[in-house]
Symmetry: C2
Amino acid sequence: MTINRSPSLTEQVKSHLKARIVTGEFPEGRIPPETELAADLGVSRTTIRDALSRLENEGAIIRKQGAGTFVNEPGLQIRSRLEDIWSYEDVLQDHGYTPSVRVLGVTRQSADPETRHVLQIAGDMLVMEKLFLEDRRPVVLTYNTIAAPDGGVDAALPIYEILRHNDRHLAYYLSEIVPVNLDADQAAKLEVAAGTPVVSFQEVGFDQENEPVVKSASYFRDDLLRFRMIRRKEA
Amino acid sequence: MTINRSPSLTEQVKSHLKARIVTGEFPEGRIPPETELAADLGVSRTTIRDALSRLENEGAIIRKQGAGTFVNEPGLQIRSRLEDIWSYEDVLQDHGYTPSVRVLGVTRQSADPETRHVLQIAGDMLVMEKLFLEDRRPVVLTYNTIAAPDGGVDAALPIYEILRHNDRHLAYYLSEIVPVNLDADQAAKLEVAAGTPVVSFQEVGFDQENEPVVKSASYFRDDLLRFRMIRRKEA
DNA sequence: CAGTGGTCTAGACCACTTT
DNA sequence: AAGTGGTCTAGACCACTGA
């Protein structure tokens, strides 16, 4: 293992260990003691612990005080961690799919009162409707609403790229998980029966100045993309 | 601020800062530099940073390298963080509700093949059906399936307490988020129309030995309990 | 009792933002 | 240039597990 900066040492250690975990290199799932890992990899124990903490958060390992650190087989099943979904194309890729995007519509019009309020805009809004597909099967339907920019936009780009080109760096989403029955139009686009229950994300994206920059709604086909997570008692 | 061990210094610093944040003590949402906090509270900068990291994960603050640390107003709206839900009574309490539990049924019977496989049991299983209410309104409907214990159980207790009394320490859940339309029976129990779409958790709980100990299904009334989360680009 | 992970310290240096 | 958060080190001590 050669060490460089960027990505950080911790991140390098993490991916190094993750790779060794998934190849089943550790006998009986037992991971070496932190001090040993630190010596072997030539980094401090703190760096090792940071990397192990991230792996533990992902569910890849379990740590038991006084006993040791172990591979967590059930946790390795998790493909999409809810909290760090950023691009649906990446999500589909992590599921072993070969994703593609289809822009269903881009409409520019005067912002409705709710959007005006949420996004703090006065003028026009731009609504982009997109479909993410695996092979030819639709998996995710999204609507992104932003303040209409001066120039044109390439709606096929990920929303954070579009915003970046307009000098708004997307920092995080505040999301609500909402159950809905698809209406006829949405169901047709996702190629399922009308009234199919789906999980949706209703969210607002904020930039680095902590100002709202995008209002977003996403609908998922449960049979093709199901979200998993690890739940624990405390932080 | 007096310092004791247990809870950890980091945890004490975190709640101390959280309290100051919610009371709006920091002018313009600007939180003092880490070195200053460390000096004021008499702890190392590492401890301060650990506490700030947790607050950042919860969405309460935002850190900007080179600029400072700031209160994150939108993030303070989050009542129930998805990843660390442990007891539904606590969740309801965090929402300002006064929770109660009603045991709808406890049945002991031979385990079906799927449960045998998931929970790795040979004999009987015990299924507990519970309803969590706010005032008199039902909010959460849960089914917990465990290997039938020798003695009796008080089904009204939280599931982790029941398991603890049988020497199985619940360590974490592996959860799937699944959209469903409630059937007539479930809808009646939650006092909503049949066919109402809801978010459900389908999950398996593991103990500290990483063995499956409980199979669980939960259904939530979206109008009374909606889950929120912060989504970011990476860890 | 030896060995493990958990907590905490003090300090160095870097990357970035702001003035 | 000054000040901030980001990364990393080396080491101390504690709490817990298991032989």
